[in-house]
């Protein structure tokens, strides 16, 4: 009964929403023109990167905080001490992973560099780095994480702190994240480089902290 009512409610809601979506809308503000006009002073050439790291860079700053926060919560919730026996993996897979990992890192660096003028950037690069870590973990070459050491904690936080330091340092220009157009490209690359490493570590951490064989929970 509950299922039926809920399902019906959801259906009615979707119908209402779609009906409203199909109505003509009076769009009064068009940001496309504003983005295009300000691209020259944004320091990058790709509009999405410009929005992410310059026009709405503050959103991105807070979003990195959310990601870092998620990792801290996972640590705070408590990780069950797990046995860390290397799993039995096909040696061919291991060899392949060994070959793939350096290539993946090269791809990550390319993505980071490409973000300035085509789809790419720190998130994609970080995600690819994390994928390399997951690959190595699944082939038994990289153990899952226990409580991170201080060096690792620095690595996890560095990207966010660099971003925050640049943002706050630019207060001298009059506003948070107010890049001077001449240096914008360099500062954004600095931020993105830091983020790539930290995001790679955080995303890998999200996986490696949570990935345990079911039998590992004592």
């Amino acid at each position: 009964m509950k299922r039926f009512v809920m399902g019906l409610g959801a259906l009615a809601f979707a119908a209402l929403l779609i009906g409203a979506l199909l109505e003509p809308l009076p769009v009064s503000v068009d940001l496309r023109a504003a983005v295009t006009n300000n691209m020259a002073s944004s320091g990058v050439e790709h509009p999405v990167t410009a929005v992410l790291l310059n026009f709405r860079g503050y959103d991105t700053l807070l979003e990195i905080a959310v990601l870092l926060l998620a990792l801290i919560v996972i640590l705070a919730v408590g990780i069950d001490t797990a046995s860390d026996q290397p799993r039995t993996v096909n040696p061919i897979l291991q060899t392949l992973a060994r070959v793939a990992a350096p290539l993946v890192i090269v791809v990550a660096v390319y993505l980071l560099w490409a973000g300035a003028f085509r789809p790419g950037g720190a998130f994609q690069a970080g995600a690819v780095l994390a994928a390399a870590a997951v690959l190595l973990h699944l082939t038994g070459l990289l153990p899952s994480w226990q409580v991170p050491t201080r060096t690792l904690r620095w690595g996890l936080t560095a990207g966010f702190l660099i971003f925050l330091a640049v943002a706050a340092g630019l207060l001298s220009q009059g506003a948070l994240l107010h890049y001077p157009p001449a240096q914008a490209g360099m500062l954004i690359l600095l931020i993105e480089a830091g983020l790539t490493i930290s995001l790679g570590l955080i995303l890998a951490g999200l996986f490696l902290l949570l990935s345990r064989e079911p039998g590992d929970d004592a």
Binding site: A20, L31, F55, Y58, L62, A65, V66, L69, A175
Partner: protein, 474 residues
């Protein structure tokens, strides 16, 4: 004002780098500085009489993100820092070294405070979504930290509630952007008219429902008692005093801001939150009267006290309603932080958390019981407390507009609050059973709670400045 966001982010990250259980001095130092900044901002706005803004990135809306602080935001910021600072001192004494629950308290609390401050300052609907998530996830993490099965289950319930709440809000933002091409509140406000397309109505409804879910307004309160009642005392205090108020602030902000033309076109809408608020007052008080565990009683009292906040919506057309709401936010925030902190002391002193087990507490922790009594006065709304001032203002505004039933509800709610507050006090004044070891309690636990409770009373005597500050609404 930008430092109110940057500082907590900095000390939260540094506390994480320092390692589990460390960073309390960073946090207390940072919070002390933030308190000064918040006072400074409030005086500046109060003296200037206008809102202040900050264009992040120097772009300005609608391309960039604007931050804005008017009297309402400044008041909320002030409350946040003034509650967080004593609670930080309290928490530094509450968590023992090597306490698993406290290992990551400081970074999580830092992100929580940063989320609150960023939310109160933001003037961009999508940016607010990000701050809501920062706030929600930090709060869930604090509830879950190092806890047992019940606590984790409560955290999961809370997580789903807060995630669904933000998803509804996000869908609303998406529809608004689709309809108007902007998410900046200042650009949006003149664009919304009573002839807005149906999509905007749906967007408004979704955003308000999502935020009510996060504020735990009846019937969306189901997640609050286990989460607030099950968490460690400093966390319960932060959550009950501040986190639920953030989404209330946002509802109020949207209600008197961009969505005001929609609501003016359908005035009956304002009675919906008021009706739910009324049910919350009675249901929450009733459950508090029946509760067996001390912290559950206090958590249900939060459900009831949040109800008062929603009584002001039908009154917003007249004068003084916003002030009454903010006064109630202050009164409940200070008093509830004090009461949860006091409950933490009582639980430490008696070694368990049933109300029946409080017998004789008066001889062991008299200061804490005095704290409980003072904060209880605020919850009941006895003069001269700020709770009295808040309720009196609601009644005054209600009578001025001829809505006497609201006044009756406020009075009845105060009586019910008296029942559950006296239930605890009566038990605590009973004679103690003999042969029971009293655990010594650190003064660093008792005094911050007392300061908060005293502030909730004294604010009632100094409410005029606050009212003037809140009157400066952009």
């Amino acid at each position: 004002m930008i430092w109110l966001i940057v500082l907590p982010l900095v000390w939260a990250s540094l506390a994480f780098i320092l390692g589990p259980g460390r960073g309390k001095w960073l946090a207390i130092g940072g919070l002390a500085l933030q308190t000064v900044l918040a006072f400074d901002l409030a005086t500046k706005i109060g003296a200037g009489g206008t809102a202040v803004g900050h264009l992040v990135g120097g772009w300005g809306a609608p391309l960039g993100i604007d931050l804005a602080a008017d009297g309402l935001s400044a008041a909320m910021l002030l409350l946040t820092q003034c509650i967080a600072l004593p609670l930080a001192v309290y928490a530094s004494a509450y968590y023992k070294r090597d306490d698993a629950a406290g290992s990551y308290f400081w970074p999580l609390a830092g992100f929580l405070i940063a989320g609150l401050n960023a939310l109160f300052l933001s003037a961009d609907l999508f940016n607010i979504y990000v701050t809501l998530e920062l706030l929600g996830l930090a709060a869930v993490g604090l509830v879950a930290a190092g806890g047992g099965a019940q606590q984790v289950a409560a955290a999961l319930r809370y997580l789903f509630a807060t995630l669904v709440g933000s998803a509804l809000y996000l869908l609303g933002v998406a529809l608004i952007y689709g309809a108007y091409g902007t998410v900046s509140i200042s650009v949006l406000t003149p664009l919304v008219t009573s002839e807005a397309p149906r999509l905007v109505w749906i967007a408004g409804g979704l955003m308000l429902i999502g935020l009510m879910l996060k504020t735990a307004l009846w019937p969306f309160h189901f997640w609050l008692p286990p989460a607030h009642g099950g968490a460690p005392a400093p966390v319960s205090a932060l959550l009950s005093a501040l986190v639920v108020k953030a989404s209330f602030y946002l509802i109020l902000r949207l209600w008197i801001g961009p969505f005001a033309p929609l609501i003016a076109a359908a005035e009956w809408l304002a009675w919906l939150p008021a009706a739910l608020g009324t049910l919350a007052i009675f249901w929450g008080s009733w459950q508090a009267i029946r509760a067996e565990r001390l912290k559950m009683l206090i958590a249900y009292s939060t459900v009831a006290q949040l109800g008062y906040l929603f009584l002001i919506f039908p009154l917003l057309a007249g004068a003084g309603a916003i002030q009454a709401g903010v006064m109630q936010v202050f009164a409940h925030g200070l008093a509830k932080a004090a009461i949860f902190a006091a409950a933490g002391v009582l639980i430490k002193a008696t070694g368990q958390d049933t109300i029946a087990g409080l017998a004789g507490a008066v001889n062991r922790v008299p200061l804490t019981l005095f704290t409980f009594g003072l904060a209880g006065m605020t919850l009941m709304g006895l003069p001269p407390s700020s709770g009295f001032l808040a309720k009196w203002q609601i009644i005054e505004a209600a009578l001025a507009q001829g809505h006497w039933p609201l006044a009756v509800i406020v009075l009845a709610g105060g009586l019910l609050a008296a029942v559950y507050v006296f239930r605890v006090l009566r038990q605590a004044f009973l004679l103690a059973p003999r042969n029971e070891e009293a655990t010594a309690v650190s003064p660093l636990l008792e005094w911050p709670a007392f300061v908060l409770a005293a502030a909730s009373i004294l604010l009632g005597l100094r409410g005029v400045e606050l009212m003037q500050l809140v009157g400066i609404v952009a």
